[in-house]
């Protein structure tokens, strides 16, 4: 059973192409199901985010599956497969595993360290599971991917730094105010970036969001969109005294908030801190305001500087994280290969132990006057014999699980011993795997 991933992401395909394959998150289960209908595909998961569309597939004949999955994607996006194929990437086995681990740990994202991807992978996994297209191999791989992502998050600094202006604004606000619930924000002007920042802040539980603009209709529109309250511009001074966060992005050519008036506002606030984000170019807030006690003004340049300093640090941490992922891939690949031989080992042991138990029965039947100790001795001897006989074949079978021709081994063994292969459905194997098989 081999793992295969076929897809495209922000590195290999432009957004116009990715758009064609955009599938709503709750439809990824249907897509996963459709993938399993392909000949030779046993398990599948379909991951679609704004930056990537990827098909994770488990099949025995991954080379053939590869071209069929590519065709599936072409059909899904109504694209000519020849036009699509230069934009597709393909990974097999260990490389596919590494790709999965890297994606889930956000190492493959446009902004390394972004926190959303692991939730998106979890959704795709859940959808595919509900659609019944996940069995043992993908279950194991994804569980491990989430574990690895957690390790990356906890042991490296990859997720330590804000990954975008809106995130940074929230983090700065939280450094000043702690929890944002119960605090109020004011939006001055109606820039797109400021709306995004406001949305982020609101998602952290703002008590109130006021919006004010030169044009009351624009203010009202934005208020409706963001769930805030539009206020007339005359109330600005009053609002500045009561809110805690101000996001400003007007198109005014001059400053809107001047040092002298802000000194008065700070005094009226009785020392309560005020965080001002100036997203306008040219700036809305006179820079000197930052020097006022308990007032904090961050403009676009300031935020960009923090972000780029963070970006360099994040790159370094990403390298550490990459090495961690490689190590995990190596360890896990071994375990996945061993999964293949588990059913065979189980059958082998069951077969042998069945024979041993039958012989024990027969002997005890023939010798009814054995006492307890002697019966135990007989049972122990027979079972011990079977275990010793099995030790070498089972150990070597586990070792051989790394060989590419392992399937041949398994087939031969099954033929020689008349074994019936256990059904590798997820219902059975995990419970067996929970008790490690000791030869």
């Amino acid at each position: 059973m081999q793992l295969l991933v076929v897809g495209l992401n922000h590195n290999t395909a432009p957004v116009e192409l990715r758009e064609r394959l955009a599938v709503k998150p709750d439809h990824s289960g249907t897509a996963a199901n459709a993938l399993t209908e392909i000949d030779g595909v046993h398990e599948a998961m379909f991951l679609a985010t704004c930056n990537r569309v990827e098909c994770y597939v488990v099949s025995k004949t991954s080379c053939q599956a590869e071209s069929r999955v590519a065709e599936f994607l072409a059909r899904l996006g109504n694209i000519d497969s020849k036009a699509l194929s230069p934009h597709l990437f393909v990974h097999h086995d260990e490389d596919a595993l590494r790709h999965l681990f890297r994606v889930t740990s956000s190492l493959d994202s446009m902004v390394v360290g972004e926190p959303q991807i692991s939730g998106q992978v979890k959704n795709a996994y859940r959808e595919a599971d509900d659609a019944g297209s996940i069995q043992t191999v993908l279950h194991r791989c994804l569980h491990q991917a989430f574990k690895v992502a957690k390790r990356v998050r906890n042991e490296t600094g990859v997720g330590d730094h804000a990954t975008g202006l809106a995130y940074l604004a929230v983090e700065l606000a939280r450094q000043i105010f702690g929890k944002l619930s119960g605090h109020k924000a004011l939006l001055v002007g109606a820039g797109e970036m400021s709306a995004l920042a406001a949305k982020h802040l609101a998602s952290h539980g703002l008590a109130e969001l006021f919006i004010t603009n030169r044009s009351p209709e624009k203010a009202q529109d934005l208020a409706d969109e963001l769930g805030g309250r539009a206020m007339p511009l005359e109330r600005l001074a009053n609002l500045l005294t009561t809110v805690d966060i101000v996001i400003s992005s007007t198109s005014a050519p001059n400053y809107v908030l001047w040092y002298d008036e802000m000194v008065g506002i700070a005094r009226a606030r009785r020392g309560r801190p005020l965080f001002l984000i100036d997203l306008a170019v040219p700036r809305d807030i006179e820079p000197r305001v930052h020097t006022i006690d308990n007032l904090y003004v961050y403009d676009v340049d300031d935020m960009q500087q923090v972000l780029s300093r963070n970006r360099a640090a994040r790159q370094r941490e990403a390298e550490v994280a990459s090495r961690l992922v490689d190590e995990e891939v190596h360890r896990f690949a071994k375990r996945i290969q061993q999964l293949e031989v588990v059913p065979t080992i189980v059958s082998l042991r069951e077969h042998h132990h069945a024979v041993a138990e039958a012989e024990i029965e027969r002997l005890l039947h023939k010798q009814p006057d054995l006492d307890r100790a002697q019966r135990h001795a007989v049972e122990a001897a027979f079972r011990g014999l079977v275990n010793k006989l099995l030790h070498a074949p089972v150990t070597n079978l586990k070792r051989a699980s790394e060989r590419p021709d392992i399937d041949r081994y398994i087939d031969v063994l099954e033929e020689l011993y008349d074994l019936e292969r256990e059904d590798t459905s997820s219902a059975k194997v995990p419970s067996l795997a929970a008790k490690p098989i000791k030869a």
């Binding site: 906890n154 042991e155 600094g157 330590d160 730094h161 804000a162 940074l168 983090e171 700065l172 939280r174 450094q175 000043i176 105010f177 702690g178 606030r269 009785r270 020392g271 309560r272 801190p273 930052h290 006690d293 308990n294 904090y296 961050y298 300031d302 500087q305 923090v306 300093r309 963070n310 640090a313």
Partner: protein, 259 residues
Amino acid sequence: MLWALAATGMVAYMSATFLHLGSLFKERPWMARGANIATAVGLVVHLGLVVALIVTESAAALLTVQGGVLLGGLGLAAVYLLAGWRMQLWTLGSLVLPLCALSVMASRFGHEPSTPSTDSLVLPIHIILAMLGTLAFAMAFAAAVLYVITERQLKAKRFGPWLRRLPSLDKLDTLGVRVVLAGFAVYTVAILLGFLWSWQNIGLDLEPRTLLAVLTWVIYGLIIQARLTVGWRGRKAAWLTIIGALGAVGVVLTYFLRG
């Protein structure tokens, strides 16, 4: 035996301190947990030291300055754990725990414990309340130092990862206020009792330590007054808190230097 306990306590508290400092730079879950475990160990050993002192010398030994410092450090550790649990403010540990370590060791030094006057309760209660007030100011000192550091970084527009692990300005400010108010109330009574004892026993003698204590009291009174009226928050209040705490600790030091 007392020395062994003191040394163990100091090691425990200092380990916790270093773990807290470490977790500021590289956030690892085991560091934070290890720090709390070390703090708890230190607290238990500290308690053991108090018990051992009572057993080997006498309960009255606690009513001396050395005993007061020991109890004060114990109280500080307990309050720190409480504040950490209720307000999730573990980072203060890197400032507070060294003080606990110091208190555990300092209680072994100093002059021979002055014979505590067991006839009147005024002096012992004065000592206990003064220690409580001082340790409250010590907590406020820790919060204020962190506040100043954080505020400076924000004003300089430097926002590195270790800064994010410090508590928010608001939390530090809130903790500072609560602790200063409590400390001030207790310190007021302590000073009054001090004057009372002094008047009862040696006449109204204005030693430098008394002046220092009164100065500390005035500074904190000022901080509270200014906050209530003009709304003095933030950096200025933090600096005054730091100075005031140094005064309070100075008062305690004079006992050690003079006996």
